[in-house]
Symmetry: C3
Subunit: 376 residues, 3 copies
Amino acid sequence: MTVVTDDLVLVDQHCHGVVTDDLDRERFARLLTESSISSNFDSMVGRALRRWCAPRLGLPAHCSVDDYLDRRREWGWRRVSTELLRAAGVRSWLLDTGLTGADDTPLTEPADFAELAGGDAFEVVRLESVAERIASTDVSVDDFLDFVEIHLRDAIGAGAVGLKSVVAYRTGLELPAEPPTDVEVNAAASAWLRWNGQRLDDPILLAWLVHLGARLSAELHVPLQLHTGFGDDDIRLHRADPALLGDFLRATKSTGATIALLHTWPFHRHAGYLAHLFPHVLVDIGLAIPYVGDRAGAVLAELLELAPFGSVCFSSDGYGLPELHHLGAVLWRRALGRLVDGWIADDVMTAADAELAAVNLSAGNCCRAYGLSAPV
Amino acid sequence: MTVVTDDLVLVDQHCHGVVTDDLDRERFARLLTESSISSNFDSMVGRALRRWCAPRLGLPAHCSVDDYLDRRREWGWRRVSTELLRAAGVRSWLLDTGLTGADDTPLTEPADFAELAGGDAFEVVRLESVAERIASTDVSVDDFLDFVEIHLRDAIGAGAVGLKSVVAYRTGLELPAEPPTDVEVNAAASAWLRWNGQRLDDPILLAWLVHLGARLSAELHVPLQLHTGFGDDDIRLHRADPALLGDFLRATKSTGATIALLHTWPFHRHAGYLAHLFPHVLVDIGLAIPYVGDRAGAVLAELLELAPFGSVCFSSDGYGLPELHHLGAVLWRRALGRLVDGWIADDVMTAADAELAAVNLSAGNCCRAYGLSAPV
Amino acid sequence: MTVVTDDLVLVDQHCHGVVTDDLDRERFARLLTESSISSNFDSMVGRALRRWCAPRLGLPAHCSVDDYLDRRREWGWRRVSTELLRAAGVRSWLLDTGLTGADDTPLTEPADFAELAGGDAFEVVRLESVAERIASTDVSVDDFLDFVEIHLRDAIGAGAVGLKSVVAYRTGLELPAEPPTDVEVNAAASAWLRWNGQRLDDPILLAWLVHLGARLSAELHVPLQLHTGFGDDDIRLHRADPALLGDFLRATKSTGATIALLHTWPFHRHAGYLAHLFPHVLVDIGLAIPYVGDRAGAVLAELLELAPFGSVCFSSDGYGLPELHHLGAVLWRRALGRLVDGWIADDVMTAADAELAAVNLSAGNCCRAYGLSAPV
């Protein structure tokens, strides 16, 4: 008997749209990796793709990459995406719309994605993208600071369910406990705005932005997501360790804000500890799940050493390729299922407790935190 | 066949007293976590509590938290503590007396604890508590510096078997190889004493204090324990990495001092490496054992990748709740038992070698280091 | 059925020569550890020695250390080395010749080693040793800078297949993206040369040297190896984290250089991530394999969470004792074999894919990177 079946409904806390275009081998390869230059078929994720996605496209499990790409071309991106996304068994998807496609490749908007996937799609707004977009227009410092907050409020008013920051990619996660002063923010904004919306790398403005996100999170009841752990080669891994968030999390612990630590690998134990300490912290191992393949269960077990069962969410970080969304879901169910079956077999907890934990980790915790209706 | 049975005697290198008072749900919850604000029933430690402690109180395994707390109330703290501590199979307990109960909740003194637990209890003296207590009286700088050393010597003369520092919670573990100079220490003490025993956060005085501890360790043959790794939200995890102790450990390696690295998770591999390098280093995974539940074996296996079998001790870090002491012992035996059985099954070592390792890890190493008589 | 058999040929990316002398217990013990002062028989590596090396010397598995050392004395270093090295099943060995024996104990030169081992031996040149040797002669700054590069080019022209840096032991791995300027290098060399070849600890010269190594790697197609992760007590673990190499690896990713990250434990997941990002990065868990004993498979599985199958090499870091070379090979095959069998049993990949991965990890990747002919 297994507790986690293919029917276990998931809610994906963090992913992106899929490419609305047919991809040749090179472009496909570029999306199956966090690397900017290497292909990644010969790795755990490459093997998982051939094992789990091929049968969904009517091919034998473990077929060659060439056969897989031929079938993909034959079916076209729309049919492939529909098949893989619908088979993922995900009821709701939270889409980070702040990352546009590389090489101007168009990505689906949330509404299109929802239609393809046959589920609900909700928007998560990326703080840095909003700030950079507003800075690219000709604004005064005062207007810039006002407009960013207004835009974020408007987006949430219009249905966005979360905020997201990629400060880990910019100055790293060692955020100050307190937001910078108005004088500091004004000076920093004034200096940066001269560059008309160039990439926002200023530590003062980033600290201001993340603290603004935490304040809006508390006031409007939308979680603030932070990228943590591994990512593309723009990140410096040691500055993306969520342990560096100690001051920031302690400062926000009683404000009503909710902070979601995304990905977290290889610092997932650190993140689990933070979730243990702070009830306003959510954690996932998003990006890691599709990438580590069969090892997702080992990583999840490490996360759950300290993370409470009410603090962990599922996410796939699927981006561009619906294969990543699909693998995220398939490997999550498989990993969680084995873990839970092991708990029951070892009498670590009752089957009923294990099943409840599985449902909460897969969907319930996310629904509660983001105000979504829970799957039945 | 299993090598580690319920009869394997343990010596607990590091724990605290239990609360001498009956606890309502809220106060109980506050003691089952390192968090200052969240309850922790829905996690590995909460599951382990229901699985392992409930039967000791005459309840079915996995009973509800409410039933458990009802029985606890019915029996009263004294009977519950007696039952759980005696059933732990721990012969000697080393109690850190430097941490007083939260909210003025009284904790057992070592003698009371020994009587409850039916074993021996020994005191470990916390350096920072001694310094802060002395500073709270009206002393001169010279007297302060003298009195701290005299007090520590007297405590050891009166039977304390170890010293302990929580510098990880204050300035972190990147300690200098050399103690500060007299001039530096005098200036720092003079500045700090004006505050009459406020929390000691001065890096110079803390470095002086830890080096004093190392000197007394060498001279009086009592180990100096250092908190490392995770703890309550007063700690910054990245500054509690024992790898930061490189200079300090290298400087003390041939002085005769013994340094015990407590807890160490999630940096237990780092700590195992330090024990490999330095024969004067002891390591444990104390606090982690009750908290990670069924994962204690995985953590222990990682520690033992490099840590010599003669350098690892058992501890529970039980504090306030006798459940934590009990879980520490039960989960340690279970984890170690599976590990050792696996070694034998895989022919990694002989059953005799495995049994010897189990005895040393559970009690022998600790007895040798602290000068206690070893269990038969 | 098992995919990895004793016939699987290995190529050892990184090791050293063996001691050409008979060793008493104390000298033997000193070589079975990274510690400068403790013996290490009572640990995973000590158990592995008795389990795996004893039968090669005609003794029962798990015999006592005394019996083992008696037999070793009886046979003499040459017969013991021949037996253990030949039984390792390693076809080619890449020897780092920059570390001379402790206490003036002589180590085999590559040609002698090859004869003992019955395989091919290739030299890897250590940058810091070359610089220090040249600095110990009476050279001008200009000559010093020229001679280092000339010596390295000559060594490669004469058959050396790789370069190696131990900058992790000196200033740590946080290397700048760009080499220092000529003015900076000249000033630093001028200051350091006054000390006539003392240990090179200057951060400017070390950065210059590693960047020189990367430039020669690109031009002459020889990988540049970097020690990362744990080592003897001269290292500070937290400065040897390969994650600190982010800027350096990003700067060299498209230059044609190949960078091999050696050892990497306990940061092997960080290293696997870097190999995922950068196709010019190779990784191994060298030193960890003999030391962690039965845990080598767990460490390898963590490395392969993100490391592509084409980026991982085998190495033993054997040094002084042929036991370490032997254990590296035996434990690697055992670890890899179990991992691969598990993948096949779980249908993670086909047997053919698993076998190909095993061959590439064990020899193929190394042969391609270093221009060696691959085992059939």
